[in-house]
């Protein structure tokens, strides 16, 4: 089965890397693990937190996408191979890679993620999406876990050279004002797959 699983690493920076897997890893929405304790019971997350020398601090699993956040300065070239091996091993085992979201898993910090989700969704519908629509873009709210918002960009935002400006200077700032309980924002967009970015870059 190993040979059938193709994994593409897309480092965002030295701390974060997305791994696109050719098979579904988790079909039950988005799961985010912010500690090795929270990963207990989810074999893939357990394996990723246990990678020696990586100092993994966060794992996000959604569909075919696994996002890993690490503290170690070790290059993704080295850590990525261990991540790939963990993904292949768990998928080959036939067991669920990630345990279903439970009430306890949903709110380990006491934050009501469901309530936050509703408020963030309202903000996205009422303000964020009408704004990005002017550039042919769309922002999908994927989930809120432990007060961290996970979103995906589409249309003109996907692959746009200014997507990070939109994310940090626009969306994140609006969230800080309207939903100050939100602790962070994670973009799980596959920007390389964007076919119609509003701004395309040129070397300068």
């Amino acid at each position: 089965m190993d040979a059938e699983i193709r994994i593409t690493a897309e480092p965002i920076d030295t701390a974060r890397c997305k791994f696109l897997v050719s098979l579904p890893v988790h079909s039950g929405g988005v799961r985010r693990f912010a500690s090795s304790e929270a990963a207990q019971g989810s074999p893939l997350a357990e394996a990723l937190f246990a990678i020696p020398g990586a100092e993994v601090t966060e794992v996000i699993v959604s569909g075919n996408l696994v996002t890993v956040v690490k503290r170690s300065p070790a290059p993704w070239q080295a850590i990525g191979k261990s991540v790939g091996a963990a993904i292949r091993s768990v998928l080959a085992s036939g067991h669920a890679a990630v345990a279903p979201k439970t009430a306890a898993a949903a709110a380990p910090s006491g934050v009501d993620d469901d309530a936050l989700y509703d408020r963030v969704a309202e903000l996205f519908d009422a303000q964020v999406n009408p704004m990005v629509a002017r550039h042919g873009g769309r922002v999908e709210l994927i989930d809120v876990q432990d007060a961290v918002v996970m979103l995906r960009m589409a249309g003109g935002c996907q692959g746009c050279g200014m997507a990070d400006v939109t994310l940090r200077q626009g969306i994140e700032a609006m969230l800080q004002e309207a939903v100050p309980e939100v602790k962070g924002i994670v973009d799980i967009t596959d920007h390389t797959a964007g076919t119609n970015p509003y701004f395309a870059a040129a070397k300068k």
Binding site: A9, G159, Q169, A173, M174, F199, A200, A202, K204
Partner: protein, 422 residues
């Protein structure tokens, strides 16, 4: 006790830049207050007027006045321009607000190839012999008079767009016509009077290097010296591989750095990043270009600085973090690049046409020492080869113990890529 206000950085990001993510994430890691200014409005500008600003990049003095008005409400502690045009605007803003920066005259000289050559030659910096000619001149007559081999260049286009070598009069006439077509494209012609001129200069033989540096109080601090192992002999000058550390012997490296320092001083650059291209032959170093901005494209990812303070965390510092720290007067970590060799390949345009598919990315990433393969062209994008084009389809990054091993890894990864063009 209330926290002291964070210093505010005004970051000038043209909408066509590759540099947005690297600079925005670096500012985020450093915890600085950030205002991003572009030449076109963001869809969020009205909602976030503290964080997003539109400036007239085509008129630096007007942009400086706009920034001054902004700063009356939200004081700005530093300004950075990430490309040639934004660097001039940043200089004008720095002068207007009394911030750390370059004189406008120096930034203008760095942006315009003819002005730059004139200043450098006047101050004794070795540059190719050059002439300025108008598009309306008698080209056959000109072709009969110029010295060969020569190189025709536009005064401002970046990434070697429009740069063509000619070895004899027929080639000169053909190159002139081709460059004229580029300069007469409406979006280029509208950029200003400079688009009506062509710089003709001697072709300088010899290998080319790129010098990345940070000028602090007029003194050049070297951040990286890159070899370009693929010969850049023309007729077009699309770049491919950058490797650091340089394999030139120490005396040559020293001469190159001294030439870069002399050029920065001759132009009057005082503060901020520079990116210079030089050639080296039996005569010594020759200054080909010097820009008052950091390295372009995604190439900066190849530079990491040892024992940096990543702002809130620890770990290697990026080039962008150093530039932001310098602009804001924050303590600078070491400016020593990490010890390992590193390299980047700007993936050559495989041909003209519409990009339909890129195959072999996973296989390319699996090559030992390769850290990443980034395809920046999107499917459906028209790929345009040099000299008309200026956009690479992507970048390959590698790191290893030696420059030779890194170069081999970059080439091996590139061989695994296949671009399907329709």
């Amino acid at each position: 006790m209330p926290c002291p206000p964070q210093p505010r950085l005004l970051l000038l990001l043209p909408t066509a830049t590759y540099r947005a993510t690297a600079f925005v994430e670096a500012a985020h890691r450093l915890g600085v207050a950030l205002t991003v200014a572009s030449e076109l409005p963001s869809t969020f500008e009205q909602a976030q007027p503290d964080r997003l600003l539109t400036l007239d990049f085509s008129d630096p003095e007007r942009a400086a006045q706009q920034a001054y008005q902004f700063a009356r409400t939200l004081p700005i502690a530093g300004v950075i321009g990430v490309d040639d045009t934004a660097a001039v605007v940043a200089a004008a803003i720095a002068e207007r607000l009394g911030l750390k920066g370059n004189p406008v005259s120096a930034a203008l000289a760095a942006r315009d190839k003819h002005l730059q050559r004139s200043e450098l030659a006047r101050r004794g910096v070795p540059v190719p012999r050059f002439e300025l000619h108008g598009l309306g001149e008698d080209v056959p007559d000109l072709a009969a008079r110029v010295r060969y081999p020569c190189v025709l260049k536009p005064l401002r286009l970046s990434a070697s767009r429009g740069v063509i070598r000619a070895d004899d009069p027929p080639e000169f006439v053909a190159a002139f016509a081709r460059l004229r077509q580029i300069l007469e494209q409406p979006e280029v012609a509208a950029c200003g009077g400079w688009a009506r001129y062509v710089l003709v200069e001697d072709f300088v033989p010899g290998p080319e290097v790129a010098l990345e540096g940070l000028v602090i109080e007029g003194r050049l601090h070297v951040l990286g010296l890159f070899d370009k192992p693929d010969p850049l002999d023309g007729p077009f000058f699309e770049e491919t591989i950058y490797l650091t550390p340089s394999r030139f012997p120490e005396p040559a490296r020293q001469a190159i750095v001294e030439c870069g320092q002399a050029a920065a001083a001759a132009l009057g650059l005082r503060e901020g990043p520079i990116h210079a291209e030089l050639r080296y032959n039996a005569t010594g170093p020759w200054l080909i270009e010097l820009a008052a901005r950091p390295i372009g494209g995604r190439c900066s990812a190849v530079l990491r600085f040892a024992a940096g303070e990543g702002g809130r965390g620890t770990g290697p510092a990026s080039l962008e973090e150093l530039i932001i720290r310098h602009a804001l007067g924050m303590p600078l970590p070491t400016l020593e690049r990490e010890e390992r060799a590193a390299g980047v390949m700007m993936i050559p345009v495989p041909g003209a046409g519409v990009l339909r598919e890129v195959r072999g990315i996973t296989e390319a990433r699996a090559v030992p020492l390769v850290e990443d393969v980034v395809i920046t062209a999107h499917l459906g994008q028209a790929l345009v080869p040099w000299p008309e084009g200026s956009r690479y389809p992507g970048f390959i990054f590698a790191r290893g113990e030696t420059s030779e091993a890194v170069e081999a890894a970059l080439r091996a990864a590139h061989r695994r890529l296949a671009f399907v063009i329709g």
